[in-house]
């Protein structure tokens, strides 16, 4: 439990860190150290201070109190450049890519200025670099054209370019499918064997436990202790994180009537990365979409919501709807919960209240004027029910943790009376264990009201626990359908792996240029 003072082999030593943002104490006297060659996991709920800790350790934020030593040397100037010079590499959860630049240019910029090759050699150098990380990404591609999984792996590769003594990984697997996670873990273990200290932040306890040597648990900005990974169980960790014993639980699933009415029907839908797809979702059903990342699941879901170009047809409640813009699906009662909350779904500087009610202002308005109190009344009960953690509903939504932001975006379909279909893209991405259950429960409650729900998730366990039926996509098509009585994490993972084996079987096909 107690952490000894800095030892010479500590590549990162953080002592007595405190940091407050306004009235919120994000960190209170937190210490953590990471030895050379060690994988040290940092776990805790959203808002427990993990990101703040990484932000300070990497020089992006200045602490109110406390010290950071990297490779035995004190970080005196709090800037990312200074931390890098001392030997710290960091892979940010939301990346450090300049999306308008090419992959090669991004890799080049990630290199410390004095270690960059001549400008003219950038392209070939970038190709060699990616090859050493076994990444199959075109260096001339615009970074914005990469899938989220590719961006995430590229982010880790960039952090390693500086040959750091200590590597911080902030939720490095959120967008990764099982195979990519394995790829990443191989890379991480390789680095650890080479003597790099790794601080690994993740929500996915099984993944963390599979690679970590030690774990430190944070709760509400306070350290809950550091443990040998071999000595702790998942249950024990979860109990430390949330302060009460809690299984990763899923709400009860009521039996669906045999031939429930079809709410969402898709036929011959095709778009840039998927299709043709035929699919029906019935009243009260939660349908899961599984698959390795980048196989068209996201694009398919977004096309259904009119956010991605597609041909073919979709109908909601028996009548076909327009998919040229998000307006057609919205009018038909099809609502998308985007996985990219920050840029797609929320207005970061607006309050929780404004973000929740933005789609139903007309209903709340009297003679064209929206009163604050009807707005507050409309959301008060939902904020309570979804257990949104915040100071007040007038707080800007960007000051909430990721899980709580997601809950607020879930309030919207609850407020609209006319929703027939919810399309949820990674509904619990970056969301802590406690909040996950609240979100599952909310989705299940809406399903019980007769909505059809489609959930796209990269977490097989989540799909197995939440859904009534799961379809597995590969190379843009549905390759398997798993009925409820067969659902299980193992069954889904097998389907993903199996379907990939089928998809890549013909020699040459699917090969990269």
């Amino acid at each position: 439990m107690s952490i000894p003072g800095p030892v010479s082999s500590d590549v990162l030593s953080v002592r007595g860190l405190s940091k407050a943002f306004g009235a919120v104490q994000a960190l209170r006297d937190v210490s953590i150290d990471c030895r050379a060659g060690e994988i040290h996991a940092l776990v805790g709920e959203n808002g427990s201070g993990k990101s703040t800790l990484l932000g300070i350790a990497s020089g992006f934020l200045a602490p109110d109190e406390g010290t950071v030593d990297i490779g035995g040397r004190r970080l005196r100037r709090h800037s990312p450049a200074a931390a890098r010079r001392l030997g710290l590499g960091i892979a940010y959860q939301d990346y450090s890519h300049v999306l308008d630049l090419s992959v090669a240019e991004n890799i080049y910029l990630a290199m410390p200025a004095d270690a960059r090759p001549p400008y003219g050699r950038m392209q070939s150098w970038a190709e060699e670099t990616l090859a050493t990380f076994k990444l199959d990404i075109s260096v001339t591609a615009a970074t914005s054209s990469l899938s989220l999984a590719e961006r995430q792996l590229l982010e880790v590769a960039k952090a390693l370019l500086t040959r750091p003594k200590v590597l911080l990984l902030d939720e490095p697997t959120t967008a990764l499918g099982p195979d990519a996670v394995e790829h990443l873990h191989t890379l991480v273990l390789e680095q650890a064997r080479a003597g790099v200290g790794i601080v690994y932040v993740s929500h996915r306890l099984p993944e963390v436990l599979a690679v970590a040597d030690r774990l430190t648990v944070l709760r509400d900005g306070v350290g809950q202790g550091t443990f040998e990974a071999a000595s702790v169980s998942e249950d024990g960790l979860v109990a430390l994180m949330i302060g009460r014993p809690l299984q990763v639980a899923f709400p009860e699933r009521a039996a669906l009537p045999e031939e429930a009415e079809v709410v969402l029907a898709v036929s011959g839908l095709r778009g840039e990365r998927f299709g043709p797809i035929d699919l029906v979702v019935r009243k009260g059903e939660i349908l899961g979409i599984a698959g390795a990342e980048g196989n068209g699941q996201v694009q398919f879901l977004r096309a259904l919501a009119g956010a991605e170009h597609a041909t073919g047809s979709a109908s909601c409640g028996g009548s076909a709807y327009e998919m040229h813009s998000p307006l057609g699906p919205l009018r038909a009662g099809v609502v998308l919960l985007s996985g990219d909350r920050r840029s797609d779904a929320l207005f970061p500087v607006l309050s929780v209240r404004a973000n929740a009610t933005i789609q139903i202002l007309r209903r709340l308005a009297r003679a064209g004027v929206v009163g604050r109190s009807p707005e507050r009344r409309a959301i008060a009960d939902l904020v309570e029910r979804l257990r949104v953690r915040m100071g007040s509903t007038e707080q800007p939504i960007q000051s909430l943790s990721g899980g709580n932001q997601q809950k607020v975006s879930l309030i919207r379909p609850f407020l609209r009376g006319d929703v027939k279909v919810i399309l949820a893209e990674e509904p619990t991405q970056g969301v802590d264990v406690g909040a996950r259950f609240d979100i599952y429960e909310a989705l299940r409650a809406k399903a019980a009201e007769g909505l059809a729900t489609v959930v796209k998730s990269s977490d097989p366990l989540e799909l197995a626990g939440l859904c009534d039926r799961v379809v597995v996509m590969s190379r843009g098509r549905i390759v398997q359908e798993i009925p409820r009585h067969e659902l299980g994490e193992r069954r889904i993972v097998e389907a993903i792996v199996g379907s990939r084996a089928v998809a890549t079987a013909p020699a040459g096909e699917g090969a990269h240029p």
Binding site: V98, I137, E272, A292, N295, R477
Partner: protein, 329 residues
């Protein structure tokens, strides 16, 4: 980078087309005298537009440039008087550059330290400079040394040496921007400041530098404005919006990170050409403003066209021909 050529091609075409059309109607256009005066006339706008392009590259605006040019003209009427000669003029000339550097640092501090949006910050600077100019010279007064103006406008045949200078400067600027590490870093800061900071770049210094360059270019433009008016007038500078127009026509993105110094130079030349030919057709100058406005709108649509077409094509693509970046499972 390939798309970056569009503004250069468009601007060159327009300059040549307008020149040819004018020459066909009014043969005086291609006379050496007219070309010489056109190029001299273009100098202030070209210089200040190059500066503006650097502010736009880091995602900012500088609307204080015109007021700074005025301030420089007024300063010149004190520091470069007709009674001076030779080296005695040097401190006076440096004073103008010093005014430029001070203004650039002031703007950068407002933007970086006080976190004001650049358009608001430089609007404030504009008012301060305008007031200061009027305080120093409440009406046009104080002749400016003609030795200086003669040097500034010296030419080989009809081509002013200074014009050769800005062409070289713009070309080198683009080479720097698209063929060097520092240029790439500047564009990265303009495109995405958070990521750039995370990658260890000194974003504050980059923005400071860009705004100082902008102001210094404006103060050099002030020399040419002084050469043009030759008197300490407190109301001469009005190129703020035109300089933004030139940078945008030259390919700069208002969101930062994209732009071309050479394109900006061509666009500034073209805008001056419009102003130059209208009197030849006995057309009122108001037409120039309207023409420029319409051109900017057309150019913006045209510059975005490749992106729109690419998006349209991508959407039409069939699943059979998956894009290259599709990851293998």
């Amino acid at each position: 980078m390939r798309r970056g050529w569009l503004p250069l091609v468009l601007m060159t075409t327009l300059i040549v087309a307008l020149g040819a059309y004018t020459e066909a109607r009014q043969s005086v256009f291609l006379s050496k005298e007219n070309l010489n005066s056109l190029l001299i006339e273009a100098m202030p706008l070209v210089l200040v537009s190059l500066g503006q392009a650097s502010a736009l590259l880091v995602g900012g605006f500088d609307v204080s440039v015109a007021a700074l040019m005025t301030m420089c003209v007024v300063t010149a009427s004190f520091t470069m008087t007709p009674t001076m000669s030779g080296l005695a003029l040097l401190p006076g000339a440096l004073a103008l550059v010093a005014v430029g550097i001070a203004t650039g640092v002031f703007n950068a501090v407002l933007i970086r330290v006080l976190r004001l949006p650049s358009i608001v910050a430089t609007l404030g600077t504009l008012s301060v400079l305008e007031g200061a100019s009027l305080l120093l010279r409440s009406f046009p007064q104080g002749a400016i040394n003609t030795d200086v103006t003669n040097v500034l406008t010296s030419a080989v045949s009809f081509i002013p040496l200074a014009f050769v200078g800005v062409v070289l400067l713009a070309a080198l600027g683009d080479l720097w921007l698209y063929r060097t590490r520092a240029g790439l870093a500047l564009r990265a800061v303009g495109l995405d400041e958070t990521s750039s900071r995370r990658l260890g770049m000194s974003t504050g210094r980059t923005v400071l530098l860009a705004f100082v360059v902008c102001s210094v270019m404006a103060s050099i433009a002030g020399f040419y404005l002084a050469a043009e008016v030759q008197v300490g007038s407190p109301i001469v500078g009005n190129q703020a919006l035109e300089s933004i127009a030139a940078a945008v026509l030259g390919g700069a993105s208002l969101a930062g990170g994209k732009g071309s110094f050479f394109g900006t130079m061509l666009a500034a030349l073209f805008l001056t050409e419009i102003n130059n030919v209208l009197p030849l057709f006995q057309q009122p100058a108001e037409y120039a403003d309207m023409t420029i406005g319409v051109l900017i709108l057309l150019a913006l649509v045209l510059y975005q066209a490749p992106e729109l077409i690419a998006r349209f094509r991508a959407a039409r693509r069939r699943p059979g021909e998956l894009p290259a970046e599709m990851p293998a499972g």
